[in-house]
């Protein structure tokens, strides 16, 4: 039992550790790097679930593209101690309560799930490219297309906001 769960246990420990380090690191760049590492460990969980396509896309999109942009922005604005924004105690208290409530919800969900160890999933084929593609373009073609239109609208909106205002 332990042997089967060993990869999961190692990955889970690393995920939790790196996620904590994102919050605890003093330098913003270190936080971002820990977040990238965290994405890799989550990618590892996808592999354990035999979702190879999801793993690859997760690494390419999150670790490879979005986090590069994060790092990019952080390098540009070069945050340091003097410029660090200080929040009032009220905001801190509110943030703690909100985060605590979220934690409560998540813990209750996990305890309801029962067995959290993925022991039998390595036989399923859901995560492979062929099966996923057939599902996406067969059963779920309408939501898929709607999502792509939504993304396109978001992209156009981003370009519009980013454009220089020539009138004023």
């Amino acid at each position: 039992m332990l042997n089967q769960n060993l990869p999961f246990m190692i990955l889970a420990t690393l995920s939790v550790f790196s996620a904590l380090m994102v919050v605890l690191s003093r330098k913003p760049v270190h936080s971002v790097l820990y977040l990238i590492f965290c994405f890799f460990t989550i990618g590892g969980h996808y592999l354990l679930l035999n979702a190879q396509f999801l793993f690859a896309v997760h690494i390419i999109v999150y670790a490879g593209a979005i986090m590069v942009l994060f790092l990019f922005t952080l390098m540009f604005i070069n945050l340091n101690k003097e410029l660090e924004p200080h929040k009032s105690n009220l905001v801190k208290a509110a943030a703690t309560i909100v985060a605590g409530t979220l934690l409560l919800v998540m813990v209750s969900t996990v305890t309801d799930t029962g067995n959290i160890f993925p022991t039998q999933v390595s036989q399923n084929e859901v995560g492979t490219v062929a099966v996923l593609g057939k599902k996406l373009y067969g059963d779920y073609v309408l939501p898929f297309e709607l999502t792509s239109i939504l993304l396109l609208a978001a992209m156009v909106g981003a370009v519009m906001i980013g454009k220089k205002n020539t009138e004023s």
Partner: protein, 343 residues
Amino acid sequence: MEFIIVKFVLVVVVFLVSLGIAAYSTYAERKIAAFLQDRVGPDRAGPFGLLQPVADGVKMFMKEEIIPTHADKGLFILGPSIMMMTACMTGVVIPWGSTLIINGTEYPVQITDLNIGILYIFGVVSIGVYGIMIGGWASNNKYSLMGAIRASSQMISYELAMGMAIIALVMTTGTLSIGEIVKQQQGMHWNVFVQPLGFVLFIVCAFAECNRTPFDLPECETELVGGYHTEYSSMKLGFYLFAEYINMFISSAIIASLYFGGYNFPFIDQLGLPHNVLTLLGTLIFFGKVFFFIFFFMWVRWTLPRFRYDQLMHVGWRVMIPLALFNILLTAVIVLWQNGQFN
């Protein structure tokens, strides 16, 4: 157990061959530069200067190691390590040859044929940019930071076009596994004839992803001293430079396998040779193709001048991406037409 031993041997061989070829690419680069500029090139160490890479390696190891006092030490070391690691990781999905039959068992000359092989390569390439970004930022130097930022924006921009060029290829081949793509190109059915535009887009993006001239703005000497590796010395600098040559070798191998038939060559079935001999011949021919593309990389470097930064972005976003989209559309229409959807 036998499986692990076979794979282990393959991994070690691929690793050593990559390093050896990268080392001798530095020598080839200097010889080709010399030839194109009507000079002699390195000729002191050994016959024809053949021991020059060894001498360079020893020099890199012996040099003093300097870490700037204001640098972020951990990240300063992490930068070149990531660069070297990602450069060596891509070799595992490339089919270096067909299969070898030893004692009746068939062994593929490929470390692993992932069914998401192409996506794996994309993943590794997209991580590779962190090596430059982290190194450039950790140096705490304005020129390094400029180089790092240029590198990341360039890689993001060209990754898009590269991905779209590959999408068109995947539409015609119908698979993401590189081993399968190579198998389909048996004889002279090379993908370059099916996807000429895709191939041109892919090779241009490969140049940009390897930071080779005319896209070597991250290390543009005239503006940025040494670019992202300005503060690096000794073997850490060596790792950065070496990783570039490994990347070039791997890119050549990917181009050769995706578009130029990999280990396939014309009249492969008419020769009537035993299977193992054909496999070895195929591997040799594959390396011939790879060497041609490495030469092509160098040829372009010593022929074309460097782009300006705004030109680079212009080409990336306004020429490459629309062309790649057009290529996808065209491929889709042709694939549908061949399947008889329009009748």
